[in-house]
């Protein structure tokens, strides 16, 4: 396997990465606005996220009595921070902010931080329904985490490395999605889960008065909702890097292909959300562990056998 050549960006790199993440997340939110407007028969709607952000920034921040302010603010702001830290190891074309040798494990570690942040946001509001939302998220997270970890192992085994640059480079001949479709599907499901999108919106559902977003207002609410879209965008970016060949494609430069693929995948995920019902939190554990785990383990077995044969021949 030839190691992927990625060039670490200089000091302005993180700012550019953050800006790119913000732009991609905003595009996802705009598509959501357009689809929501079309669903209710109106025209336009692409301006909805900006209008909502302006409204929330203007709103006064309210909190409950004896709320744990520190933990709530850490929880709410943490989602965007986790997404930004994830993007720090994502190679866009040939550029990366931080060429960590264990980039894939870092990605996994950052979405485990999301567990902590969502629960803290639920706890910090000192109210029953947000706390229930936080607990629901942990119940869903326990269910999807093991299949996600195995789905992340499949591209790592095929590329023989945990570095994101190497995994992207190992897809020169054939994109991983072609022979690891199960891992791709499991990965996308996990991305939807850790960014609190349907079908995993039980932590935020209406039957617990908005759940984790229940008592949030103003800047806190904006940060949490921004964090959801940022995590979805970062997850889509990683899906492109891990399974859809990274920046490969004819004519256009690498980074343009990468951003294009990420944006298209993000829009597909946003459009897909409207068609799926919301899962109850206890409905995920049994299918994920009883059906999901054996299937993804078989997938990893297939990948391992193909890799060994490919190396020895």
């Amino acid at each position: 396997m030839t190691p992927g050549v990625v060039q670490q960006l200089p000091a302005w790199g993180p700012l550019v990465a953050l800006a790119a993440l913000a732009v991609v997340a905003l595009s996802g939110a705009m598509v959501n606005g357009v689809l929501a407007a079309r669903f209710s028969g109106r025209r336009g709607g692409g301006f909805a996220p900006i209008a909502e952000a302006a409204r929330l920034l203007r709103q006064r921040r309210r909190s409950t009595v004896a709320a744990d302010e520190l933990l709530r603010r850490v929880g709410v702001a943490g989602l965007t921070v986790a997404a930004a830290l994830k993007v720090a190891v994502l190679p866009v074309g040939a550029w990366v902010v931080s060429d960590l040798a264990v980039g894939l494990v870092w990605f996994n570690a950052m979405d485990v931080l999301v567990w902590a942040f969502v629960w803290l946001a639920g706890w910090g509001q000192n109210s029953v329904f947000p706390l229930v939302g936080g607990y629901r998220f942990l119940a869903l997270a326990l269910a999807y985490e093991l299949p996600l970890m195995f789905a992340l192992t499949a591209p790592a085994v095929a590329a023989g490395s945990l570095r994101m640059g190497d995994i992207v480079a190992a897809q020169e001949g054939l994109w991983f999605v072609v022979w690891m479709p199960v891992a791709f599907v499991v990965f996308l499901a996990a991305v939807l889960a850790f960014s609190l999108q349907r079908p995993f919106t039980a932590p935020m559902s209406a039957d617990i008065t908005g759940g984790v977003t229940g008592e949030l207002s103003g800047v806190d609410r904006l940060l949490l909702l921004t964090g959801r879209y940022s995590l979805l965008s970062a997850g889509a970016g990683f899906a492109v890097a891990l399974f859809l060949g990274g920046g490969s494609g004819p004519l256009l430069p690498d980074w343009l292909w990468f951003l294009g693929k990420t944006v298209v995948l993000l829009w597909l995920l946003v459009a897909l959300r409207r068609r799926i019902p919301q899962l109850r939190p206890e409905q995920l554990m049994a299918p994920a562990w009883v059906v999901g785990l054996p299937v993804i383990l078989l997938q990893v077995l297939v990948v391992a056998v193909v890799t060994i044969n490919g190396r020895s021949s």
Binding site: A66, V112, W123, G124, A139, T153, M285, I308
Partner: protein, 222 residues
Amino acid sequence: MPEAILFVVLAVIAVAAGVAVFRTDSMARASYALAVSFVAVGLMLLQFRLEYIGVITVLMMVMEMAVMAIFMIMFMGMNPALMPMDMVHSKKLSAGSAIGLFLLLTAGILLADWPESRGPAGGDLTASLGEAIMEPKMLVMLVISPVLFATLVSALVLANPRGRYSTYPLVPVEDADDDGQGKGQDHSGDSAGHAAHSAHGMDHGAGNSDGHGQHHGGGGHQ
């Protein structure tokens, strides 16, 4: 020099967070102070170029602290307002022995004649860890896999609200028992989650150098 400063800052954060675990009044803050301490140690491991183990430490410990917070609140009540929580016994004896041990260890550390280093660390440490655990140190893998599996099973058996002796219900239990079963599933899932994700952490290390390791680890899980 900046490395040394970063190291000292992280060490101070780790110890301060550790002290905060026992000084704070709120259960959630105690659990997450411990999480901060572990994250600081994980970042210190990154400074030692133990990248894989450092990131794995951060991952696993944050996951464990998230679940531990649930347990703390389950057992100790639900008041997120800062309620005085000073439940200790033999405070003087334990503080005295902790401080005494610290002085003893520090004296030993400063006075001991540490040997010279055997040369710098080289090569791809993650790959060499994977190779080490599959070749010379395979006994570790062979022992840890069944131990983790046994932990999974025994934690589930112990935590199951049905108890260790009742048979598996072949007819569905009625709704009155539903909460117990559902909660039992969740709790046992929590304990199982601890062991299972660590077992998978081992597979990460093995998988990137040799595909056999993946299969072996997978077999151990099932």
